[in-house]
């Protein structure tokens, strides 16, 4: 069974068709990468999958359940979790507090009012365990704005993992990270649970090659091709797209 499936998604902004009949399947445990030039409609597609946007036609199915009409927060509860291309964190809070928020929400404790948060041992311990796993334990008491951008990217992933996802959408996780920190990030991604379905939206072919079992190429809102990383990279069509020129084939 597919963990996440999109069938015939179409999204128009006025006369512009940004997502043009996209169908995709992310099986349980998949490592699928979505690539495409700027303006291909990757961000819109992520919006449609996560519920930020409503498709004009088509359906989104999560673990066999139609979630097309479900708001983002409810999709998260069903196990569909995303990270953000540009860090989208609680900047005034510490790293531990950032992760605590997600852990507490996932544990159903976000309406718990009687006990101080710091005394909720299971929640604090789980938050610390996740930070440990991502190598963030030593900076857990630092405010987001006080740590490097690369570390902030890891906090994005820490928050996502706190929510115990079934499907994880990583939106350009390596964007903006200095080269020496990319390796640590890729290593972290490689160590994620095997049964977790991951959809990676990425620009950097180096990252895609290391990560993906399957690659989907999106051009002008349409799926140009799907295949193994080798197939995709040797495709002349894909090359043309990336070297420019083919971007205007579809409106």
């Amino acid at each position: 069974m597919s963990a996440l499936e999109a069938i015939g998604l179409v999204k128009r902004f006025g006369a512009l068709v940004v997502t043009d009949d996209v169908t995709l399947k992310v099986p349980v445990g998949a490592r699928l990468a979505l690539i495409g030039p700027n303006g291909a409609g990757k961000t819109t597609l992520v919006g449609l999958l996560t519920g930020l946007l409503r498709p004009d036609t088509g359906t989104v199915v999560l673990n066999g359940r139609d979630v097309t009409a479900l708001a983002p927060a409810l999709r998260v509860k069903q196990g569909l979790v995303r990270t953000f291309q540009i860090n989208n964190l609680f900047r005034g809070l510490t790293i531990l507090e950032n992760v605590f928020l997600a852990v507490s929400e996932h544990a159903g404790s976000s309406f718990a009012m009687l006990r101080p948060a710091g005394r909720c041992k299971p929640l604090v311990e789980r938050s610390e365990a996740i930070l440990d796993m991502l190598g963030l334990a030593d900076v857990r008491h630092q405010t987001i704005t006080d740590v490097s951008y690369g570390r902030q990217r890891l906090v994005e992933i820490a928050i996502a993992l706190s929510l115990d996802p079934k499907v994880l959408l990583l939106d350009e996780p390596a964007a903006g990270i200095p080269g020496n920190e990319v390796a640590r990030l890729l290593d972290t991604i490689a160590r994620l649970p095997k049964d977790l379905a991951i959809l990676l939206i990425e620009h950097d072919m180096h990252v895609v090659r290391q990560f993906a079992q399957e690659v989907m190429v999106l051009v002008a809102g349409r799926v140009l091709m799907t295949g193994s990383p080798q197939e995709v990279m040797s495709s002349s069509e894909v090359r043309t797209v990336y070297l420019g020129g083919a971007r205007t084939t579809h409106a």
Binding site: T50, A71, P72, A73, L74, V76, K77, V81, R82, F84, N88, L89, F90, R91, G92, L93, T94, L96, E97, F100, L101, A102, S104, E105, H106, S109, S110, F111, A112, M113, L114, R115, P116, A117, G118, R119, C120, L123, V124, R140, H141, I159, S162, L163
Partner: protein, 322 residues
Amino acid sequence: MNHSPLLNRHRIHWAEIAYWLMALAVFFLFPRNLSLATAIVIMALFALSLDLVMGYAGVVSMGHAVFFGIGAYGAGLISLAGHHEPITGAILAGLAAASFALMVGPVLMGLSGLPQIMVTLALNVILYEAGNKAIAITGGDDGLRGIKLDPLLGLFKWTVFGQTSYLYALGWLFVLFLVVRCLVSSPFGVSLQGLRENTERMRFIGTPVRRQLVVVYVVSGFIAGIAGAVSAQTVKFVGLEALSVEKSIDALVMLVLGGVGRLYGALIGAPVYMLVHQVASEWNPFHWMFVIGGLLIVVVMFARGGMLGVAAMLAARLRGGR
């Protein structure tokens, strides 16, 4: 800093104990000024209710006097209807304010930024006008008179110098302060601060944003309602000013002076504002607003985080210098 403040909020600081001892000492030190002291305590409670929604959840309510007013008129009407027991009277009035918050909350909490400011403000203006017109209920310009209360707990008579009133108001402030303190230290409180920091992101960790905001809004409405009720019960009069936009703004100014999102900001801002008001209006009854205005400008420009913000900064600097 080697800790995560949100997760350590339940720890009690020595200054907190000092504060409450001082509040109690006022009772013995200023026996002739207890009616002013009572008014200060009531405004501190009102400003605290505003801090809960604004300082913690990031909701900007410009019309919080709506709840204060409902609580005040509620308590007045309950007494006039013949129920003279003060504590249950105040609770009932608080529940009336909370019910109103529950009615308007789902709409108001769906808004943010400027629309939220304007709609809460408009709601305040509308309710004020409604109060002005509904003479049969509110007494219009004449207000509600003839509020009677049984002795507090059946023991303490309501004295002319206001000893009972002061301790009664202070008791409410203390109990509700503990409630708010418990609330903001809890996982729920941490979640509220997540909403203040980044509402959008909270949606993507699965938080039912609006439901959480409505809950805190209702709690805040209840506390503001109690503040209004205690005002009606101790002054034995309710006038339209309880529902006025000026009342809402007073609380906001007190909070900004003391420090937003710090609990004690409300508890420090109220006495400072009202004492400055007292002294300045003795100096010049027509132009005292200049003093308050000047003070506000200084705090906003040079002391972000209010007086408590400055105190915290100085304390950190002292500790660093050691």
